[in-house]
């Protein structure tokens, strides 16, 4: 079931948009629990608090458009229509997972449906997104690529090479910066010269705008504009979505670089789910009962996915060497 391509400004679709965001939140909480029970391997990067960026950007895309993602990519995959059961199967090291247990949390991809993959290298997907956009141009598909990256990636060389090339060739790509304020522990204001990521757009001759990344409507509307611009051949845009992650960078994070007070302030006053629910109530599009029903439906969807993935057969050692080359 695809959760993508809905309009959060449309009353009839509002519940589905909200369900998309809750699905990500509940998916991540489920993953956190599975990890704490020792059922997952390695580490993971949770996107709790950033759900509006994934949903707002992906809902501005059309069926068949592409995304590239980051190490914090569960939300992007779900928002672009990934099956939570196959995602959980991957995390649980099952053969039925998106990558047959070879990729894990950081490499979930479904190229056929337009997800070109999460990436364990910061800014690693930015040049790939640029190439995929060139590919759309050369094949005249009319498709667009949305390239998710974090604020930390804006200080990698790949960011600058990709933006420059995409701009001089007017490629159909939307650079979507998910600025959650910290590159691991490094605060964005300490790491990033020039005041903001969006400011860098002017150097590359493209529109750049800083957007409230916790307001799914604002994310959607700015993304829609950038997607249309890309699709009509006018070239790339740089969108900087200011958001916040509640959890640490990964499971090893002791949160020494920020205060509990800061985290609590974002959670209680700027939470993206809460903000959208408030909006839906004030527009009288959804009541308390409707919202509770959306949350319950999202919870059931993820619960069923966990149960099914848990029962799936494990990843196989047999054909490991033969899997290296196509």
């Amino acid at each position: 079931m695809s959760m993508a391509r809905m309009d959060p400004t449309d009353a009839a679709q509002a519940a589905d948009v909200l369900k998309g965001m809750w699905s990500i939140r509940i998916f991540e909480e489920a993953v956190e629990e599975l990890f704490s029970r020792g059922l997952l391997h390695g580490t993971m990067h949770l996107t709790i608090g950033q759900e509006a960026v994934a949903v707002g950007v992906c809902d501005a895309l059309d069926e068949g458009d592409f995304i590239t993602s980051t190490h914090r990519g569960h939300g992007h995959a779900l928002a672009h229509g990934a099956d939570p059961e196959r995602m959980l199967a991957e995390l649980l090291m099952k053969d039925t997972g998106y990558c047959r247990g070879r990729g894990g949390s950081m490499h979930i991809a479904d190229v056929d449906s337009g997800n070109l993959g999460a990436n364990g290298i910061v800014a690693g997907s930015m040049t790939i997104a640029t190439g995929a956009a060139l590919s759309q141009r050369l094949q005249e598909t009319g498709k667009v690529v949305a390239c998710f990256f974090g604020d930390g990636a804006a200080n990698e060389g790949a960011f600058h090479e990709a933006l420059n090339l995409a701009s001089i060739w007017s490629l159909p790509v939307v650079f979507a910066c998910e600025n959650n304020q910290y590159g691991m522990s490094m605060a964005q204001e300490k790491s990033t010269a020039g005041g903001s990521v969006a400011n860098r757009a002017s150097a590359y001759g493209m529109p750049g705008v800083q957007v409230d990344g916790n307001d799914v409507v604002a994310v959607f509307e700015h993304s829609k504009e950038a997607v249309e611009r890309a699709r009509s051949g006018e070239g790339p845009s740089l969108l900087e979505f200011v958001t916040y992650r509640y959890r640490g960078h990964s499971k090893s994070d002791r949160n020494l670089y920020r205060t509990q007070q800061e985290i609590d302030e974002w959670r209680t006053t700027k939470d993206p789910l809460m903000l959208y629910e408030q909006r839906l109530r004030s527009l009288a599009w959804l009541g308390d009962g409707d919202i509770a029903a959306v949350q319950a439906a999202a919870r059931e969807r993820i619960r069923a996915a966990v149960a099914a993935a848990y029962k799936a057969p494990p990843a196989l050692v047999d054909d490991l060497e033969g899997a290296t080359y196509a």
Binding site: L116, G124, T127, I128, A132, A133, A158, E161, T324, A326
Partner: protein, 330 residues
């Protein structure tokens, strides 16, 4: 009378055939358009095929290779160029972390059919324009590494590289570009007889095996001629591909000759030569060895500027000849 071609023209002819026949193929790289490429390989192609398919890029190696990855996984067959092999250092992430691994780490659900062309080897006068870095890439699961020695192989193996569904690092030797050799062009891409991962016995002999690739194959053949005058019958194996490495052909040759000499221009330590030696001694070919194996490879120093210093750093025909004679007397 068979036709002949220079190595450079043979590569250019392969690119022309690829662009003509396969609409999925495009080229991207620095100065490959109106300039014709730093070594003249792409001369005339932009006029023939247009700027969409012969794409001049900024000096941005990371995005040149990265865009190849993105285009390859979405249906195209990019042939991207890193002007000097040395500059590939700037593109290590898209090549090593991305191109090499996507097929595997996405569970086999995607192929990365791209070719990265680069001009390697000595001859340009100094350390940052003359390196032989092939061992780095041969060490990475997921990459294939091809280093042709002749105009015909350069042509045929480039076609085979584009037909391959995996990322291929295709290294042309800049001192071979002007060399001439017998040449037959192919009417269609699929007509290429070359297969990646197949070595070739380019001179048959009975006294010792010289395994080499790229320009060292040419030097080994020259050394074999001189050895023949001295009554030594050398067999020369051109590896052609160093990953995957056709070790079986080398083993077969060693079983026949009983002696092995491995030559390459890249530094000796931790090089492809060590892998060839290991591949022989860990098989029953070890039992056929009549003498210790030898490596005649590059010195373990960066490439110097002065011509004589460069000559001393790279193995020459004399070095192969001398080493082969020592091996015969060992």
């Amino acid at each position: 009378m068979p036709e002949t071609s220079s190595y450079a023209k043979a590569v250019g002819a392969a690119l022309r055939l690829l662009l003509t026949e396969d609409p999925r193929v495009f080229l991207a790289g620095e100065d490959i358009g109106i300039y014709g490429g730093a070594f003249g390989i792409t001369d005339g192609l932009v006029q023939e095929f247009g700027e969409d398919r012969v794409r001049d890029t900024p000096i941005s190696e990371e995005v040149i290779v990265g865009l190849g990855v993105g285009a390859a996984i979405t249906g195209l067959r990019p042939v991207v160029e890193v002007q000097f092999f040395d500059f590939i250092v700037n593109a290590m992430d898209p090549l090593v972390n991305q191109a090499a691994k996507l097929h595997f780490m996405y569970g086999g659900h995607v192929d990365v059919p791209m070719v990265v062309r680069a001009a390697g080897g000595g001859g340009t006068g100094a350390a940052q324009h003359s390196q032989s870095l092939e061992a780095w890439f041969a060490h990475v699961p997921g990459l294939k590494v091809v280093l042709p020695a002749t105009p015909q192989d350069a042509h045929d193996l480039l076609l085979a590289s584009v037909l391959d569904p995996n990322p291929v690092v295709f290294v042309e030797h800049k001192l071979l570009y002007k060399t001439e050799g017998p040449f037959e062009s192919r009417a269609r891409i699929a007509d290429t007889p070359a297969r990646i991962g197949e070595a070739k016995v380019v001179r048959h002999g009975t006294d010792l095996t010289i395994a080499a690739y790229s320009i060292m194959t040419v030097k080994a053949l020259e050394a074999a001629k001189r050895l023949a005058d001295a009554g030594i019958d050398a067999e020369v194996v051109d590896l052609r591909t160093v990953r995957p490495l056709d070790i079986e052909t080398v083993r077969g040759s060693v079983r026949k000759t009983g002696r092995l000499l491995v030559g390459h221009e890249a530094p000796t330590a931790v090089g492809v030569g060590a892998e060839v030696v290991a591949g022989v001694v860990e098989s029953d070919a070890l039992d056929y060895l009549l003498a210790p194996v030898r490596r005649v490879c590059g010195r373990d120093n960066p490439m110097p500027y002065a011509k004589e210093l460069e000559r001393a750093t790279i193995p020459q025909v004399d070095d192969i000849e001398r080493s082969a004679k020592e091996l015969m007397n060992a």
